[in-house]
Amino acid sequence: MNRQQFMKDLKRYLKKAHPQDVQDALEFYEELFDDAGLRPDDTVPESYGTPKQIALEILAEKTLNDDPKDNPKRMVPLWAIFVAIFAFPIGIPLIIATLAAIFALVVASVAVAIGFFAVAASLVYVMFMPGVTGAFQVMAIGAILFSFAIAALLFKLVAAILRGIWRKISQMILDHKEKKERASRESQEHDPVFRPNAQRRSAASQPSQGFSANHSNPDPEYYDPEEKWQ
């Protein structure tokens, strides 16, 4: 099997694994193959194992890893549920009222802005009516400019309010997503449970893994724990 097929199969067998686990495993093997100088069309040596075997080991560990991650979800404190229930009849109308108030403010601002535009437009019309004197025309120009300025200001204000609300909402959504991701990442990294069983089973099923007898007399450079570790 070549490298490309190997990676494709591994991804396929890991379909049901946690996305983070899939990414970690794929990255690990991509890096290993890169370092080993294995090109996409090169055959992956048998010593790397099969994608199925690798995936099964990951999935076997994952079922154990899933438990502590689900726990915090199930452990929503009782008081939080009560608060949520009691807040519901107040909270929902409050949200509706807030939204209505914002909507009213927006509509009112737009209406006033349009009103000022109308005043400006009518003054333009009045300015060119027969019998309107020069002094009044100058005053009208001033009033037109003033009305336009007020209208533009109001539009800007409305736009700023809407943009602010939008930003707040999208930030809330992003924060929620990030929090979720961080929680899943942390539960993976800080899982203190040590589980030798899964590996022991797979190691035992591979008779090729063993170490030769001369290691009962190990190289002190490599093994001496007193010198190096204490």
Binding site: D35, A36, A203, A204, F211, P225
Partner: protein
């Protein structure tokens, strides 16, 4: 003639190698395979488990335009290594005294 290398022993070996200096997947496989009879396939589950148990942590470093994941020891990992080296010594002494006839 080969003795199977069990999970605990793999953990001990990998922790011992990382203890000597931060290293990455390929280097780990090369070090292990040059000295004992293990295959590449056995490394990933070990690293995964050691990381999950918080004995190892990882960080990424860019090398030649691509990413390489390095493994380094945590305090818990150091503690585990000391414990495992004690266990190994005990095991080795037991075996040695039996085969050496000192019992």
């Amino acid at each position: 003639m080969a003795f199977p290398i069990q999970a605990q022993l793999m953990d001990y070996l990998v922790l011992a190698i990382v203890h000597r200096g931060d290293t990455y997947g390929y280097e780990l496989t090369q070090t292990l395979m040059s000295l004992i009879n293990v295959s590449e396939s056995s490394l990933y589950p070990v690293l995964r488990r050691l990381k999950a148990a918080n004995y190892l942590r990882t960080y990424d470093k860019e090398i030649d335009g691509r990413n390489r994941r390095y493994y380094s020891m945590t305090t818990e990992g150091e503690r585990m290594l000391v414990k495992l080296s004690g266990d190994w010594q005990e095991f080795k002494d037991g075996i040695d005294s039996i085969v050496g006839g000192t019992v």
